[in-house]
């Protein structure tokens, strides 16, 4: 199987009603309602190859979760074609879910009151994993995630980081070829995040596991994914490598100047009017940030330094976060 996920013109519509305001309005709502249709996912198409790690990003309400839920068979699409692991998720749900693992960062897969290993045992049964496979595979998972000491504790007594690692292990009990992670690192501290990323990389290499990941934390994506799919208002606005995105959008540098005297936007603009540069007020007093194209870097520095007295100067790469924010502000990806 070459493609783990094939999606074509996938659409999901929700019908919702708006409430009229006030008591009288609510009373009128009893009899008639204003319905409207919201298109949460609007005719998207993409494919993911076996073994790829893909970041699926977008703002809140962009349709990320809705897509994931259609890919995992939780929601039925309004129209379009979904083929995951060669199956139609919601049609053959019970056979299909045997081939995927799902982690919802904000929702526990484990049973609250019982010890972690009991949950594992139950899931082992549910996924019909043989004793031998379990021992071999899970032994490794438990060791890598370092959750051995947690196994006999009830889930409610675990910290968020501990729980998340157990969740991840639980999703992998049947060693699925495809793993969906919805906000897996939300609210975790840096060390746990690093551990989880390491682990994901490892299983991707070891088993050629395909991973589709949604997250708010761009550093997750930078660490793991070569490819990103970016969603806005239910449509895909970018699908390609992270590197490409950086090259086209993250070209140039950010130069931060801290001046010893007050300087105005107009003065700076006039000074560099013939160069490719954008000025923005910095966070500290008298500091300005220039977003400069590569060709103009030396010119900008040269002119500013000769004209003004400078206290400090810093040059940065443009952060991926910044790139993505820019893209959303413009609403599309050019080039």
């Amino acid at each position: 199987m070459v493609n783990a996920i094939e999606v074509e013109k996938l659409r999901k519509e929700f019908k919702s009603y708006s409430s009229r305001s006030g008591l009288m309005g609510a009373f009128r709502d009893l009899f008639t309602r204003n319905y409207k249709t919201i298109r949460a996912v609007n005719d998207i198409s993409f494919t993911v190859k076996q073994g790829e790690m893909v970041g699926y990003i977008g703002e809140n309400g962009a349709g990320k979760s809705t897509t994931i839920k259609m890919l995992t068979g939780i929601l039925t699409p309004t129209s379009g074609k979904v083929l995951v692991n060669g199956m139609n998720p919601h049609k053959e749900r019970e056979t299909f879910v045997q081939t995927i693992g799902v982690v919802f960062g904000q929702r526990s897969q484990l049973w609250w009151d019982i010890a972690v290993q009991e949950s594992f045992r139950l899931l082992k049964k549910v996924y019909r994993v043989s004793d031998q496979d379990y021992k071999e595979h899970m032994g490794h998972v438990i060791e890598t995630l370092d959750i051995g000491p947690l196994l006999d504790k009830p889930v409610r007594k675990l910290s968020l980081g501990q729980r998340m690692r157990c969740e991840l292990a639980a999703a992998l009990i049947h060693n699925p070829p495809l793993l969906f992670l919805d906000e897996p690192t939300i609210g975790l501290d840096v060390l746990v995040k690093l551990k989880i990323r390491e682990f994901l990389k490892e299983i991707n290499q070891k088993y050629n596991t395909t991973i589709l990941l949604t997250t708010h934390d761009i550093s997750d994506i930078e660490a793991l994914c070569e490819r990103v799919i970016m969603l806005d208002e239910g449509k895909i606005i970018y699908d390609g490598s992270l590197q490409h995105l950086k090259e086209n959008w993250g070209e140039g540098k950010q130069i931060q100047f801290t001046f010893s005297k007050e300087v105005t936007d107009g003065e700076l603009g006039a000074l560099t009017s013939d160069l490719q540069v954008e000025w923005r007020k910095g966070e500290q007093a008298n500091s300005w940030v220039a977003h400069v194209a590569p060709a103009s870097i030396s010119d900008v520095i040269n002119r500013v330094v000769t004209r003004y007295e400078i206290q400090d100067i810093n040059i940065h790469e443009i952060a991926t976060e910044e790139i993505i924010r820019n893209i959303y502000e413009e609403g599309a990806v050019h080039g």
């Binding site: 929700f14 019970e94 929702r107 897969q109 019982i114 009991e118 045992r121 139950l122 549910v126 996924y127």
Partner: protein, 261 residues
């Protein structure tokens, strides 16, 4: 076979959880007993003021009540998913259920299992034996099997109605306060059906067929021949309503919208 082994696996986990909270278990037993007492007291008080209820005696009424408790206990142990909407739809727990390779309804039944309700069945059998001995009922060897058949039928009636009600949440976002009210209605199936007018009789027989959990099957053991046809319809009605409910469920899951996030 797979489903049976999953069932026992869940049951094992259930026991372990429950044994952690032994005090809870005790309180639940007591409150169950109180619930059963309320209805018994009603019957006793009523018969303090009359000797016959439309030709049925006090002991017959008590017998019906005792019978009713058995399918009701089974229902309570396995199909009591009154908080389905709150738990699975509003909080989005159904997402998790749907990512597992076992039928969703079966998983929810297993997760919401409350085996301590079975004690109510024991109470029911004791009440039946008490009333039965006062009525000098004659029993045959096959009556045990008839009893089991009727009990399962009654349980399926209950399960069918309450599962169907739970599926309403797939279509409407209403927080269902219908469920508690339905428990009240289900009580009326325990009284002689011919005291009601045609509409209610029809409702209790064919629409919300709670009469098949109380008066109809009990009529067989009480030797009320005019109701035998209905008595033996119990398992049929049970299966029909249960199958219908599962169909509704499957259709509903397709319409599941997921919890807002």
């Amino acid at each position: 076979m797979f489903y049976v082994s999953v069932f026992f696996q869940y049951m094992g986990q259930y026991m372990k959880t429950k044994l952690q909270y032994r005090a809870d278990l005790f309180v639940e037993f007591i409150s169950d007993l109180m619930f059963q007492a309320v209805n018994l007291i009603f019957i006793l008080v009523i018969f303090g003021h009359t000797s016959l209820l439309h030709g049925w005696t006090r002991d017959e009424m008590i017998f019906i009540y005792g019978f009713f408790l058995v399918p009701f206990a089974l229902f309570g142990a396995f199909f009591n998913i009154w908080d389905f909407n709150e738990r699975y739809i509003v909080r989005g727990e159904l997402d998790r259920v749907l990512t597992r390779p076992v039928h969703s309804l079966f998983q929810i039944v297993l997760e919401r299992m409350e085996l301590e309700s079975l004690l109510g069945g024991v109470t029911g059998i004791i009440i039946m034996m008490y009333a039965g001995s006062r009525l000098h009922l004659e029993l045959h060897w096959y009556d045990l099997f008839v009893f089991i058949l009727f009990v399962v039928g009654g349980m399926l009636v209950y399960a069918g109605v309450f599962i169907s009600l739970a599926t309403v949440s797939f279509w409407s976002d209403a927080r269902s306060s219908i469920m508690p009210m339905m428990y009240n209605i289900s009580n009326y199936g325990r009284y002689p059906i011919d005291i009601y007018n045609r509409v209610i009789r029809y409702v209790l027989t064919w629409v919300l067929p709670f009469a098949f959990v109380g008066v109809y099957p009990s009529a067989y053991f009480l030797g009320k021949k005019e109701w035998y046809i209905y008595s033996f319809l119990t398992p049929v009605v049970g299966i029909v309503f249960f199958v219908l409910a599962v169909f509704l469920w499957n259709a509903g899951v397709k319409r599941y919208r997921g919890a807002g996030n």
